[in-house]
């Protein structure tokens, strides 16, 4: 398959206008720029998902690569009547599970490991880095089925029927797992630590530190 790189303008324009399913259909028909658009759209999201549990950027990157390689090999299975996103996350989570089963255990949490995948402290602010670490630990402490549902629902942006199709459970079971997971997270995180401001797209680190959370309550 010819994968000569398209100009940035062309594939960025494609990514903005077409849906996931249109891009995938185009790729199956031979449009390689469409595959790059899909990659640019979902690779960061999948990488964040992998890094929340792997802590080694190279291995997380490798799993993201494998996900898209599997998507390529399975391209003729694509049904344009079905959504692509749940399928993509199914592949990613299966590969992640298989990775941990090969490793026999989940990696030990360590400050060095967490620091290896976090942006530099000066880019975010110490408070935000600490909050992110706390949240990461809280997520890691959840049972696997609850963590996966929250991963897909909150961080992946899938609705509950889509999450149910990925994890192979009923919608009601998925909702119960999500509720239990959110309750557990709230208990673990507690209510004493001050909340750092929410990060915004772009901006200098000082802007991020000084910006306050917009609250409409």
């Amino acid at each position: 398959m010819d994968l000569a790189p398209e100009s940035d303008l062309v594939w960025r324009a494609l990514a903005e206008t077409r849906s996931d399913e249109q891009l995938m259909s185009a790729y199956v028909a031979g449009d390689t720029a469409a595959f790059r658009a899909l990659f640019e759209r979902y690779a960061p999201l999948l990488l964040r998902s992998m890094l929340r549990e792997l802590y080694v950027r190279e291995e997380a990157n490798d799993l993201v690569q494998q996900t898209f390689l599997q998507l390529h090999r399975a391209r003729l299975d694509f049904d344009s009547g079905q959504k692509l996103k749940p399928w993509l996350f199914t592949i990613a989570l299966n590969l992640k599970r298989e990775y941990f089963r090969r490793k026999k255990r989940r990696p030990e949490r360590s400050l060095e490991g967490e620091a290896a995948v976090e942006p530099a402290v000066e880019a975010l602010g110490a408070a935000q880095v600490d909050a992110r670490r706390t949240l990461g630990r809280a997520l890691g402490a959840l049972p696997a089925d609850q963590r996966e549902v929250i991963e897909l629902h909150w961080f992946g942006g899938l609705d509950f029927p889509e999450v149910a199709s990925v994890v192979g459970a009923s919608v009601s079971a998925v909702k119960v797992r999500a509720h239990r997971g959110y309750v557990r997270l709230r208990e673990v995180l507690g209510g004493d630590a001050p909340l750092p401001p929410l990060p915004v797209e772009g901006g200098e680190p000082s802007e991020r530190r000084n910006r306050t959370t917009r609250r409409s309550i």
Partner: protein, 265 residues
């Protein structure tokens, strides 16, 4: 207002508040948790936004992998799953049909028709179900490891269960013992096309151990389908050692070899 919209509000940096939100919260226990204690959980979860990954180098690496997807194996494993399943199930059935036409078991005429075909049906259904699971690979819905292994083990013992369920004659007659070793070798040879096809169709580069054992179990089922049409022995020991153990032996071999047996070259 639904869960997805509330989530998007949090992620965009605001805590949603409106009559529509209040109405939604009355019926959604999950979202209520996000709003408790001054929306602490919703706001904390919305903070988990790492900087985006550098797509340029990553896509170049992916391009490099994709450019190596050439050759027969790349073409075959890109076949739609239905086509791959049809071949993996069709191959043993074709060999079975050939055996029934040329060289079927000497006692075929005397064998009870319902018993014979019930055995075939049981193994064929197990083969089809297992192949469907195997062929989907990383695209199958997530399942617990316990459930995956339960299904694999059932397929491993299916030939033995079938032999016990549909006896063709005297289980312990000395003359029925025959030569289980020859049947074992013959059955293993008959399963070779299935194993080759499974390797050609496998999409994953690092094949998990569970998938290897499942492949071995299905190879054993396909071997037993053919042996059922070939071998007239009714001795239980012969059936278990010479026929039903083929899948177990393959499983042991593939487990030892590990992922290299089905890894792409």
């Amino acid at each position: 207002m639904d869960c997805a919209e509330i989530l998007r509000c949090f992620v965009s940096g605001s805590v949603p508040h409106s009559p529509a939100v209040e109405t939604h919260l009355k019926g959604c226990a999950r979202c209520r948790v996000l709003f408790e204690q001054d929306a602490q959980l919703g706001r904390r979860l919305a903070e988990e936004q790492s900087p985006p990954a550098d797509g340029g180098d990553s896509f170049k690496a992916l391009e490099s992998s994709l450019s190596r997807e050439v050759g027969l194996r790349a073409k075959l494993r890109a076949w739609p799953t239905r086509a791959r399943v049809a071949v993996l199930v069709g191959l043993p059935m074709l060999i079975l049909a050939s055996k029934l036409v040329w060289g079927r078991r000497p006692d075929y005429a005397a064998y009870s028709g319902p018993a014979f075909w019930s055995f075939v049906l049981l193994l064929a259904v197990g083969l089809a179900a297992g192949v469907w699971r195997l062929a989907r690979g990383a695209s199958r819905p997530l399942q617990s490891q316990g459930r995956e292994w339960t299904i694999t083990w059932l397929l491993l013992v299916l030939p033995a269960l079938a032999a016990l369920s549909f006896p063709a004659g005297d289980w312990f007659g000395a003359e029925a013992w025959g030569t289980p070793g020859k049947c074992f070798g013959f059955g293993a040879m008959m399963a070779a096309p299935f194993l080759l096809a499974a390797w050609l169709f496998e999409r994953r580069d690092a094949v998990p151990r569970g998938a290897l054992v499942l492949t071995a179990a299905l190879a054993g089922v396909s071997a037993n389908l053919v042996l059922h049409a070939h071998c007239a022995s009714t001795h239980l020991g012969h059936l278990l050692l010479g026929h039903a153990s083929i899948g177990v032996a393959f499983a042991a071999a593939l487990s030892l070899i590990g992922g290299r047996a089905l890894r792409s070259g």
